[in-house]
Point group: none
DNA sequence: TATGAATGAGGTTTCATTCAT
DNA sequence: CATGAATGAAACCTCATTCAT
């Protein structure tokens, strides 16, 4: 039986990077390329991909419809045909991005693991996902620059996000019941801490790198950061374990 | 009775919000006591204040020189007279914002406190500053949307930021020597964690609030978050304290 | 009875003004016989014509995009649609002007005439063209004010001009072989002299007229000047003819 | 006694470059730097020099008052103090430039030479002056771009120019009387030809060089051009001389 | 469904000139 | 005489969006 807080001491290097869809690819639901799939869908999907990159890259105001149209297999007119306006396109991009992360998160199946192990897996997944999807991070940043004005318009996104808390809540309760997590914590607060640590790593890497002259994008630096974050979260949640003398 | 480090147990509600300059006030260098040179400085300063709000509000591309000019005591032409271009103005705003936080941070005088106390004060300051200066947070967000392209042009900012690490490093070492901090940690990594937790609270409050239907801006919610962050950081750094059985 | 070369003696009043396209008309490539593609070409062409006048009139810096747009059948926006920038438009104007003169020059068919006659025709053409196309002259002047900076960017123009020398070179050689031209001259130098005399007549007419109180624009004055120039060039090239005593 | 047309045959390499004030220097009348010369004059003179360069370089519309002020030893306000407006300054520059060439021309003292020799000297001087004073050439070009509108306002310039014709006229008549010049020519026309050949060499060197891929600015090229021009003018004026067999 | 042409409103920047001291 | 600050008008250019076909 463990007498020490294993998570804190043992950097969970063994927590394998969670397999996600390959980064930057954003045609998850197109299924197999069966011939019955019509061009229209593909056109809209193609626009969405290009737009995701552009909006993530430049923000809403900085993005250019012309630039999107040029990188697209179709014309500018089609953008308006499918998405009505720049704002409509942006909204579609945003919804698409949010749906993707939550759908993967749901597939983690944390119930199958011991609470401590599950927590480490959850944090590791969050970290890996942020690192693998900078576009998502940038879209969320941009959304906050606009005070969440676009997100507020989309009901679908809000529903999607709620589930994240539910998963974490169930996990936390299991841990408390098992006596490995200390009680009195709050799932939303915990989720926020996890998100903050992961999000910042990607979101602020440019200013942080410049300010402190460190390259934070190297695999080595990322691995260290990943360990540090998992450690920090585990220590935060874990019940204090009496150490033998 | 408490057998463990008081910091972790005692949410440092007693750590008083650090006095900062009042938010949005931005005439730090006004101190020069000469009265004969009012106008020029004041005009430029006035532009800088207004521009800070506009850039923080809308981002670089979204900000409008016209809008800035209108909120100013002078004309659009003067903006170009003093700052050459939209980019020049943005850079001045960015430099100003960074200098402000670092200069206050330097005034914390952490050497006068016990390591654990000092750490709590530092985190508390960071949290309070971010909450009190959302404009700073938004400027940094925006800068990251642009991949730090503007920051990269400013040497002065980069120098300014380095000092933050120095302070934290000295503090951390004191704590290690005193046996209250565990060894093997890294000041840059620690600084990043603190920044991440504080930054996210302000930066992502809109999307987070919408996603999880919580108002995170209420004094009560902020106080709870503040406690949670300080606790998390302290637990991360603190030496494991042997509990008597 | 004349014992000397008739060219020098006989002012070539009989050298008819060379038929050129009517001045200021600038739709040379309209020839493509497809009727289905009218609008785009016409719009761009219309802009080009108006711009030619404006740039010739005021120079590059003095020209106003707004002024051009107003004289056009379309809007200012279209200028940018077709020509990207003020500079792009100017370049198009310049290329167009150069191509026009060279294409006509090529149509002179000097090979069909005796060398002396051909030379007279060439000079006469050059004179007439300059007089008939002051816009061309002014564009070139302006280009020289800018140190040929725009011309340097256009490869097409440089290719076009080379042909002028080729024509003159062949003509000169024929004259030498026939014994009517003296040897030792240089085609580029000769071309320069011809250009100088013709160009100046149009280019400097304002300052010259004012300085010497002569109206140099009257048909009579132009005819006299034309004769003088042809005479001067012929005398320059012509072989000294021994006079019998 | 010469039996051949010496000018045409003998390239007047012996015609020494006429000594002019050193190129680009434009403070000819400031006399010696005696202490009694006041600052005011010097200030105005300094402005004039700088403005000459700027106007010659960029043309009237392209020139920037700000740019002139910056290269000046004084401030922008002084430009307006001395010259009232951009136009006033340009006019002063123009007058200054014209006065300079004519005053030197008057000092040639052509009466002291044989007509043919004098003519060669005159052409040589004209050529050398143009080459040595590209600023003058460019100002005149610019003036013609503006249809001589500024020159028309200045009476002083027009008076100055008339004398050039008088000198040439006297020279031509002497040559006719001596039987070395053919009769029936016109001094204004002759002056125009000389000016055209010299002016073009400098004025159009950029477009010409680019069009024909020749460097026309090298000392060698200029010397050849100089010879060619003198030769051309002399042949144009000279009485046909019977050649002995 | 698709496209190239077209557009008006508004964005950033520049410039000659004047004012207060 | 001299200067730095200030200015309004207008210049060049961009953008999301729509029209004709």
């Amino acid at each position: 039986m463990k007498t020490r807080s294993p998570a804190a001491q043992t950097p969970p290097a063994d927590v394998q990077p969670v397999a996600t869809d390959n980064p930057e690819d954003s045609r998850p639901r197109r299924g197999r390329p069966s011939a019955d799939r019509q061009a229209p869908d593909q056109t809209a999907q193609n626009i969405l991909e290009v737009a995701t990159r552009e909006f993530a890259d430049k923000g809403f105001s900085g993005a250019r419809i012309d630039a999107i149209a040029e990188s697209t297999r179709t014309s500018k007119r089609m953008i308006y045909y499918y998405f009505t306006s720049k704002e409509g396109l942006y909204l579609a991009v945003l919804e698409d991005a949010y749906k993707r992360i939550r759908s993967i998160e749901s597939g983690l199946n944390l119930d199958g693991f011991e609470p401590l192990d599950a927590l480490q897996r959850l944090v590791a997944f969050a970290f890996d996902y942020h690192v693998a999807h900078p576009d998502f991070v940038r879209l969320v940043m941009n959304e906050n620059i606009h005070n969440g004005a676009f997100l507020a318009k989309s009901e679908s996104i809000q529903q999607v996000n709620r589930s994240a808390i539910d998963h974490l809540n169930r996990l936390y309760r299991r841990g408390c019941e098992a006596g490995v997590f200390r009680t009195g914590l709050n799932a939303v607060d915990l989720h926020m801490s996890i998100s903050a640590l992961c999000f910042f790593t990607v979101a602020n890497r440019h200013t942080f790198s410049l300010s402190f002259k460190r390259d934070l994008s190297s695999p080595k630096a990322l691995a260290a950061r990943r360990r540090s974050i998992i450690d920090m979260v585990v220590r935060h949640v874990q019940q204090e374990v009496p150490t033998p003398h």
